[in-house]
Symmetry: C2
Subunit: 385 residues, 2 copies
């Protein structure tokens, strides 16, 4: 049920002509209250798209009433005309909904550099059709409208005692956040203050979306938005809410990983025994970004030497001769030397587990990534995106 | 003529059974004097192979008489047995040449984790055969013996008034140094002191090998060694020598780029208008490591948005709305927005020029990289290396 699973939210997905295929490409999500709490995290890429620049201002006061999202164009590096388009998009939605433009978040995804007059006209038409189509059952169609090279719509719902969190996500390439990630909208009917929503969102993204690193490429348009309306009438325990939000975010991150462009393996890199969580993340990310390791996994080759070579490029504390590496449960490297033979490792399943024990401390972190495949190269060379 | 182009050097390449193909796999380069000056730079990967650990000690006193190199096994992460193998290799060469083992540099390349007793026996046999085969015409065969997935042997010679520099290099994947790179041996009959040799080598590698970033993966075995014997009897002007060495290093780096695994484009990324040279390098390297940009070039797609997205992940000074980008001479992006249409750019030639103007200063840097292709994925997934 996506973003309309919690009480008091309506959504819609409509086809506005942005996608040449004629598929849905504009989504609208509206919070019907009673509260209009909003929080968001954004890409840390310094080249930020116009909808990011707009939305950063919108969320500052902790109030968000609606989110308009489009696929079929990133409206990034489109200058002041592009910023005006994001502004006009919010104004159009606000006018039709009888709310303030300053409470409307805008998200765009697609080819960078796309954002001309045709793009603007299609988006504004989409807002009009989307607002008309709003419904409490509209979550799934909204999730479909934000897809780009995604092969499936990605939604998740977590329910607790009397309150619910719903979410939708898109993302298939450029999955390497720093602070935020992809386009994600999360709704809840739990009763939260703006600072509670912000804190819970940052905490949840920090260990979920932020640790998904499919291809090392950071997007200009990533945004995760949380809307909370208190419609359930229940103020959850902050810890319970944070845990539920982290669970939902983790589920969506996993779905993004499983649908990453061209991937044939979903690789979970667990780093153990690190001196600090930051160092565990640094090590996991370095391995996740090593093309030679990623290509080896595509070839079902348990090439642990490439893992150690990647660890060696980090600043993390470790002794190259006291590192253990497991692949799918088989210890292929112990104390920095060969252990079990490569023939013992079965890398044919799509789900791949890599465990690295640095043996210098007790900190851990898990990074999600994918292999480097012919299909990844094909999708990202044959089509502009 | 490779490393035997200068006077007073002998070399050989022999087949010692390390390569299953039976091709040459051990090379020996000997400096016959009169002077035995040596300098080297090494990989900055903290996971260093045993031959690196050995050779770092050898070059400390500025004296090197011989270099033994093998392909067919990296002798990395092979523990104390592997270190002993590097030591025994130097001792064997020293005994046969009547010199000190402490003046013999050892270099290995091939699969990480390879370095068992069979490997040791083959290398020691290779040293014996190699020393027997030493000749003043042996440079080309030595260059052939260090090839791994290289498709051509890489050599270069630069001659000036009465003195000569010769070099050989191997490298086809894992080309992303930090301080040193690949296996390279450079010889000269110019008369240099050890500190002059060291300074000239660091200066030359800093702007050549160090700025080749084929696939973002840093090797555990990279080493560039310079041997100088003064056999020409000429003490060159330090500036003239540094310039000649940089020219030769640049030629070898270009050959490494042109033979990078699976590449279909050799991309020269020139960053202009940076606040500092370090920032220009950071920007160039960030673009060079962006898989989406690299895949786009493979697909002959002038996707400048991916260039700007990569710049946005750096800490370099720039205004996203005041950046210009040229591809093969066509300005595709000006002031952070679309300029000439993508149809105007012809990316079909193998040599590809990307120019980025950050417009904040006067510093420049050039990074050499390659595209991300199906063949790269194939070579690095189908074979362990």
């Amino acid at each position: 049920m996506s973003v309309t699973a919690p009480q008091g939210f309506e959504a819609a997905g409509v086809a506005a002509g942005l996608k040449s295929t004629g598929k849905p490409d504009v989504a609208v999500v509206v919070n019907r209250g009673p509260r209009k709490v909003g929080a968001a995290v954004f890409t840390s890429n310094r080249a930020k798209a116009n909808p990011i620049l707009w939305s950063q201002e919108v969320v500052k006061d902790g109030t968000v009433e609606a989110v308009v999202l489009n696929s079929g164009g990133a409206n990034c590096f489109t200058g002041s005309f592009g910023f005006q388009t994001s502004h006009l998009t919010a104004e159009k939605a606000a006018e039709l909904l009888g709310i303030s433009a300053g409470d409307v978040v805008v998200c765009s995804t697609g080819l960078i550099g796309t954002g001309d007059e045709t793009f603007r006209r299609h988006v504004l038409d989409g807002v009009e059709a989307g607002v008309r189509a709003l419904s409490v059952d509209g979550g799934p169609s909204a999730a479909e409208a934000i897809m780009t090279t995604d092969t499936v719509a990605k939604t998740a719902v977590v329910s607790r005692d009397g309150w619910t969190i719903g979410g939708m996500a898109k993302g298939a390439g450029m999955l390497a956040p720093g602070l935020a990630t992809m386009l994600v909208v999360i709704t809840t009917d739990a009763d939260l203050d703006a600072d509670e929503a912000d804190a819970a969102l940052r905490r949840a993204t920090g260990t979920t979306f932020d640790r998904l690193d499919s291809d090392g490429c950071m997007s200009t348009n990533d945004q995760v938005t949380l809307l909370a309306n208190g419609a359930s009438g229940i103020r959850p325990d902050p810890e319970a809410f944070a845990a539920a939000l982290a669970q939902l975010s983790g589920e969506l991150a996993k779905k993004l990983q499983q649908d990453a462009e061209g991937a044939s393996h979903d690789i979970t890199i667990e780093v153990r025994g690190a001196a600090s969580e930051d160092e565990a993340v640094e090590v996991g990310r370095s391995v996740a970004r090593n093309n030679l390791f990623k290509a080896a996994i595509f070839g079902n080759d348990p090439n642990w030497g490439r893992v150690l070579a990647a660890i060696g490029t980090t600043s993390a504390q470790f002794d190259p001769y006291d590192v253990d590496v497991w692949m799918n449960g088989v210890r292929v490297c112990s104390a920095g030397g060969p252990d079990r033979p490569r023939e013992d490792v079965d890398l044919s399943p799509r789900a791949t587990d890599l465990v690295i024990d640095l043996k210098v401390g007790t900190a851990t972190a898990t990074i999600l990534t994918n292999d480097l495949t012919h299909d990844y190269v094909h999708e990202n060379s044959a089509y502009s995106s």
